[in-house]
């Protein structure tokens, strides 16, 4: 396709989109007024329902179905794929890694973000200091992974070879021998987790800083008059007041972490025992041609995300009701 053709098809898509919207609006106006606006509701709901069922509900059901089939999708094997996930040593490593990711990333990022937010709050140069930690958020996971590949890069110690990896160069400066950082498990998984923490701490900091700023001055002053010190202020006043924001940050990062794929794929491709569920789901489906196991992993991932989302929604609702 030439550029001109690309622009043309883009234009056609835009016109088509506008046409669909126009039809919906027309239908809503023509039939909507009856039944107390119920027609309007349906006119607007229908496209969403249709697209969601085609794009989300149907594939989800298909995936669940496939997870009960064998590698080629021919024979029904019952729960065998799930049994594999919870028994085969390789898959158990995947589960262990995923647990490591999900436990470490949200809590460490939130802790760092919270401490940083407290430190820079009201300080001079607050805005640039915040921008500094928020910047990684703007980098894609793939981009971040490539950056960190250089940080962890290893060159064997022979002849005149110079280290180009930041970490190993520092080790050499300190008089140590360079190490293959991404080989040793589970250290390599922890090193990959550092990348996501680097990205997510900025998000945590931004949300929590806003929450801290939203605490009324009078409450802080009342607490000062009540005699609290710095630590007590945090424990009895600041933290309980921003609790809803902390929960949102923890769960949001938790969900993102469960679905982590890019970083592992770029850094190690899941080798050296670093694979996680999303990466394994990809490898099994497209590399190892094991559709059934891939689908089962996808379903498992879905099942793990649901409770966090549910908790998040419930918490939001209860904090609104408060």
């Amino acid at each position: 396709m030439t550029s001109a053709e690309k622009f043309l098809s883009m234009l056609i898509a835009l016109v088509a989109f506008a046409a669909v919207i126009a039809v919906i609006l027309f239908l809503a106006r023509t039939f909507g007024e009856r039944n107390g606006g119920r027609g309007t509701a349906w006119a607007f709901m229908a496209p969403v329902v249709l697209l969601l069922s085609v794009g989300l509900v149907f594939p989800a059901l298909m995936t669940v179905y496939q997870s009960f089939l064998d590698a080629r999708g021919d024979n029904f094997v019952g729960l065998a794929n799930y049994a594999t996930i919870f028994t085969s040593p390789d898959q158990l490593t995947v589960l262990r890694n995923t647990v490591l990711w999900v436990v470490l990333t949200p809590f460490v990022s939130t802790a760092i973000g919270l401490i940083y937010a407290l430190l820079v709050n009201g300080a001079r140069l607050e805005a640039p200091a915040k921008a500094l930690i928020f910047l990684p958020m703007a980098i894609s996971f793939v981009g971040a992974a490539i950056i960190w590949k250089f940080v962890y890069e290893f060159r064997p110690l022979q002849g005149n070879v110079q280290q180009i990896g930041l970490v190993n160069q520092i080790i050499v400066w300190l008089g140590g021998e360079p190490v293959q950082l991404l080989i040793e498990s589970p250290l390599n998984t922890v090193l990959l987790i550092v990348i996501l923490i680097w990205i997510q701490a900025g998000f945590a900091m931004t949300v929590l800083s806003a929450a801290i700023k939203a605490i009324p001055d009078e409450i802080i002053e009342a607490a000062r008059l009540d005699g609290v010190g710095v630590v007590q202020m945090f424990r009895f006043v600041t933290l309980p007041t921003i609790r809803p924001a902390v929960v949102v940050v923890l769960t949001t990062i938790g969900i993102a972490t469960l679905k982590i794929f890019d970083i592992v794929q770029v850094m190690t491709g899941g080798q050296f025992n670093t694979s996680v569920i999303a990466n394994e789901f990809y490898s099994q489906t497209f590399r190892s041609d094991n559709q059934g196991l891939g689908a089962a992993l996808a379903v498992l991932l879905f099942l793990l995300v649901i409770p966090i989302v549910a908790y998040n929604v419930r918490h939001l609702r209860s904090s609104e009701a408060r």
Binding site: R224, L225, D226
Partner: protein, 359 residues
């Protein structure tokens, strides 16, 4: 219990060139209820926050009892403050809110419980101790804020417009409750409000501030009968005092077609004009005097207020007068007023200061 002394206390906000509170000199007696009142931006809240330790003092001193607390941190000043928005901790129950200061101070649990119970009993909050502030009405929250102050048994209560978030009826009720509670507990109290009615009804003494400068400190009665300057005269009292710029003439002030006699000595220092103040209830209908055209008649039953205009040469001046509610003058008519003898306040037209008269 303790006295409170502001000794030339000054607060200059960073970047400002005019102090928010300018050399405030004020002595508050032990157990006294002092009300700081003034229009918004007059420095009354700042004065209170300086006493609380929430604002720096840039000049002068503040003493509680004999102790200089100018640089003492808020928690060591032995004070308790009631905030305008109550500033209750939203995640704590009423009991925890009230006992928080004691908990931080390391008071034994049963002692905290006893004192919280005591305060709750005084404030009629016993049934709400387990609730969170969200589940309380505005009036109840206000009482919790009071309770939090009482539980600490401080030397001084500080209250920053604690009634301004209540509806009109509740405000009047709570006003009386706070005043009587303060008298019962006998704790020195500094109370900030912009509402002069609150100031007059609650305070043992009232301090009027304007632009960071103390205008007058007196009992409510004295403040009403003997305002020191034009500002205080216009600020205290509702409806406001009539402040009329009238020409000075031989033997007194020209009051329409009559002369209000003033002794020569009092007029010696003034120029051509003088500001004459008469409260609405001290205006009497007469044959002669100030001609006022009636714009609005507000009938309140026993009384009626006349809102009229005094046309004098080029300038129009608004005039308010209280008259007998049974036979008020008609709207649109022109009536004449004379001031009640001995109830006239004279102020220098330039400086705005009171001119003392013997009459």
């Amino acid at each position: 219990m303790a006295t409170v002394t502001y000794d030339k206390a000054t607060r200059l906000y960073p970047g400002g060139d005019k102090p928010a509170v300018d050399a405030l000199d004020l002595h508050i007696e032990d157990g006294e209820f002092l009300v700081l009142v003034g229009p918004s931006g007059c420095g009354k809240s700042t004065s209170l926050r300086m006493l609380a330790g929430l604002e720096d003092v840039n000049g002068g001193r503040i003493l509680i009892g004999d102790r200089d607390v100018t640089t003492v941190p808020p928690k060591d000043r032995d004070i308790a403050m009631v905030f305008q928005n109550y500033a209750l901790y939203p995640h704590m129950t009423v009991a925890d809110n009230m006992g928080f200061a004691l908990k931080i101070a390391g008071t034994p649990k049963d002692e905290i419980k006893r004192r919280v119970q005591e305060a709750a009993k005084i404030l009629d909050l016993e049934d709400y101790l387990a609730r969170k502030p969200k589940a309380l009405s505005g009036g109840q929250r206000q009482r919790v804020a009071m309770g939090r102050a009482i539980v600490r048994q401080p030397q001084v209560f500080l209250m920053d417009e604690p009634l301004s978030n209540l509806d009109a009826k509740l405000r009047v009720q709570t006003r009386t409750q706070i005043a009587s509670l303060q008298r019962r507990l006998g704790v020195t109290t500094v109370y900030v409000t912009h509402d002069q009615v609150e100031a007059m009804t609650m305070g043992d003494r009232v301090a009027v501030l304007k632009d960071g400068i103390l205008q007058q400190v007196d009992t409510p009665r004295r403040m009403y009968d003997h305002p020191n300057n034009v500002f205080v005269a216009g600020f205290i009292g509702s409806p406001a005092m009539n402040l009329l710029t009238l020409p000075v003439t031989e033997g007194g002030v020209l009051f329409g077609d009559s002369i209000h006699p003033v002794e020569r000595a009092a007029l010696a220092a003034t120029g051509k004009n003088i500001t004459l103040g008469v409260r609405p209830e001290d205006m009497e209908l007469a044959e002669h005097g100030l001609p006022v055209s009636v714009d609005v008649v507000e009938e309140l039953g026993a009384d009626a207020y006349i809102y009229g205009t005094l046309r004098q040469g080029e300038s129009d001046m608004p005039v308010i007068a209280r008259v007998d509610g049974r036979q008020p003058p008609a709207k649109g008519s022109t009536v004449h007023f004379q001031p009640k003898r001995g109830h006239v306040h004279l102020f220098d037209d330039n400086s705005g200061l009171r001119i003392e008269t013997t009459a």
